[in-house]
């Protein structure tokens, strides 16, 4: 208190920002390393437990000890030799990537349309799109299966990919984000003679990388994890995806022997999603600068 009083007024205005910033950085660092890091380790410990369990001998996996008495690395190679695990993996990657790309494209386009253009029926269409989110997927699978069967898409990649090619969640997410884009930016570009496609590609898309990344991640993860639909339309070995293959593996190895191998397979199945996250996460904190936002 007295310090502040003693200090000359001129110095206050020049010194404070620097100090404040430093203090904020310190608070941030304390919170990050002191609170969030231990919390994160707690969250990840279940995952670590899974990895360790995947390395255990079969008769230890149901015990509550953390550390394996010996490391059984073969649990990680066994899926490849006992089932066409590599093929399942490839199928999942093909389906996951295709569905994700389709979603990013269709959702961004539709969201842009719903957000920045006014035409008759727009609100109604958007509401219908949102409404499709509300019905539990399992019950629509029966009529959907009949439809996909008529298209001769049972046991084909088309059956696995196309019905999942867009998502109401994605459109909601993208529309909420595009809504925040000032119309002036778009109008300015139009005055400059830019076409709608060019505006989308050159102005909207670059500013939407963060929500697009989040969308890609969520869609990829959902597809990667989806189990029931792939079982219905892709249950032959050529089209089995990882979750279907894993479920069969689990049933096949009716016994404790199968569990470490199953967990190992599941740990390996996590990798693509984690890699995608590492790849995309920079987008989540980059932040847009004012100058890029308003030109």
């Amino acid at each position: 208190m007295t310090d502040v009083l003693k200090r000359p007024p001129v110095a206050v205005s020049s010194a404070t920002p620097v100090r404040r910033r430093r203090r904020r950085v310190n608070v941030r660092a304390v919170v990050l390393y002191g609170l969030l890091l231990p919390g994160g380790l707690l969250f990840a410990s279940v995952f670590v437990y899974a990895v360790l369990s995947a390395l255990k001998p079969a008769d230890e996996v149901l015990s509550t000890h953390w550390w394996p008495s010996r490391f059984v690395w073969s649990n990680f190679t066994l899926p490849f030799t006992t089932v066409p695990f590599a093929r399942y993996y490839l199928n999942s990657v093909v389906v996951g990537v295709a569905v994700t790309l389709l979603n990013v494209v269709t959702c961004t386009l539709a969201a842009y349309s719903f957000s920045k253009f006014s035409y008759r029926g727009r609100t109604l269409l958007y509401l219908i799109v949102l409404a499709t989110m509300m019905i539990p997927l399992e019950v629509i699978y029966v009529p959907l299966y009949a439809l996909v069967f008529k298209l001769h898409w049972v046991n084909s990649f088309a059956g696995l990919i196309v019905p999942a090619g867009t998502s109401a969640f994605g459109i909601l997410l993208m529309r909420q984000s595009i809504n925040g884009l000032p119309d002036e930016v778009l109008d300015a570009a139009r005055l400059d003679g830019a076409g709608e496609m060019r505006i989308l590609w050159r102005i909207v898309a670059p500013m939407m990388t963060a929500p697009m990344s989040a969308l890609a991640l969520v869609v990829f993860m959902t597809t990667w994890d989806s189990h029931l639909w792939p079982l219905l339309v892709g249950s032959d070995d050529g089209h089995k995806t990882l979750p279907v293959g894993l479920a069969a593996m689990q049933a096949d190895n009716a016994g404790a022997t199968g569990i470490p191998m199953l967990v190992a397979a599941a740990v390996m199945a996590v990798l693509p999603t984690l890699l995608l996250f590492c790849f995309l996460q920079k987008r989540f904190v980059e932040g847009i600068t004012m100058s890029a936002g308003i030109q």
């Binding site: 404040r20 904020r24 941030r28 660092a29 990050l32 969030l36 380790l41 969250f43 279940v46 995952f47 437990y49 899974a50 509550t64 959702c107 539709a110 349309s113 006014s118 727009r122 269409l125 799109v129 409404a131 499709t132 989110m133 509300m134 019905i135 539990p136 399992e138 019950v139 629509i140 699978y141 196309v162 019905p163 090619g165 867009t166 109401a168 909420q176 984000s177 925040g180 929500p211 989040a214 969520v218 189990h227 979750p243 894993l246 689990q250 967990v263 397979a265 599941a266 199945a269 996590v270 984690l274 996250f277 920079k282 987008r283 989540f284 904190v285 932040g287 847009i288 600068t289 004012m290």
Partner: protein, 287 residues
């Protein structure tokens, strides 16, 4: 000049509408059409393998009196409230802390994200071990709770495992939302002498609103439609038979597609109403 403008804007409207066509085509065929079928089938007695038999609103009448259905609503309400409120709040706090470029922050984000990437089927093996009466969770807490095999604790066990699994998802969305708030704006606020809380309250939170809306809508839908954790951890025993699990069992184990469709329709309208309400609330606050 004006005619040109009018033509240009009409032209623009058409292009704008065309942008929505791919998504709408897919929706029409693979979501709206089957959904309309579900509405229609909810008026039939349909065992999937014999021709449907018209019963009018009898399926709805049945649900009105069905104790099992009412229990499934309770289970869903409990799960939604105690899983998704903490998960969303936790995700928001984490996002505020993790929205930084300090070294190692990427790694810490990965730690929170890892559970999201694991499939329920596989991770259930691990959670069942942790929940054992002599398992790690009880060791840490110094208790001997039969987490998954008692009506007193099973719903809480599901909450614990689900908060762990779902928080990372909302964290991603909040981080994506935060990244769209110009950093200068928040820093400017701090420079103005606004405290951390005030800058959060008056700058960050309002600007984060569109994403918060997405998160809240998604949380409610995921909460109401959840059934994977219930299937793999408790099989719906001990008061954990949530609505969607009831739908699934009714449709495929008991082969009563009409009744399952009726539940789906009710769930549909409930969710639609809640979602509209949420979106309206979030929009009204914007202005």
């Amino acid at each position: 000049m004006t005619t040109l403008n009018v033509r240009a804007s009409a032209h623009r409207k058409i292009i704008g509408a065309v942008f929505a066509v791919p998504a709408l085509a897919l929706f029409g065929l693979f979501a709206v059409y089957p959904m309309v079928r579900v509405f229609y089938i909810s008026l039939f007695d349909y065992d999937l393998t014999s021709p449907p038999h018209w019963v009018g609103f009898a399926n709805y009448g049945f649900l009105w009196h069905s104790e099992q259905f009412h229990q499934s609503l309770e289970a869903t309400g409990f799960y939604l409230l105690f899983t998704y409120v903490p998960a969303v709040l936790l995700a928001l706090l984490l996002a505020l802390g993790l929205d930084t470029k300090l070294p190692g922050s990427g790694f810490i984000r990965l730690l929170y994200f890892a559970p999201v990437a694991m499939s329920w089927v596989a991770i259930s093996v691990i959670w069942r071990l942790l929940f054992q009466p002599d398992g790690l969770l009880n060791q840490v807490l110094g208790t001997h709770t039969p987490w998954l095999t008692s009506a007193k604790s099973a719903e809480w066990a599901l909450v614990i495992a689900s908060v762990w699994k779902e928080t990372g998802l909302f964290l991603i969305l909040f981080l994506a939302g935060l990244s769209r708030i110009p950093r200068e704006l928040r820093e400017a606020a701090s420079l103005d002498g606004a405290g951390a809380f005030r800058s959060f309250r008056y700058i960050t939170l309002p600007l984060l609103k569109p994403m918060t809306a997405v998160v809240c809508v998604m949380a409610v839908i995921r909460g109401c439609q959840s059934f994977s954790p219930q299937v793999v951890l408790t099989g719906g025993s001990f008061k954990t038979q949530v609505v969607n699990l009831y739908v699934y069992k009714t449709a495929f184990e008991n082969a009563r597609m009409g009744r399952a469709s009726a539940v789906a329709v009710l769930l549909f309208f409930a969710l639609l109403m809640v979602t509209m309400l949420q979106l309206r609330l979030f929009r009204s606050g914007e202005r």
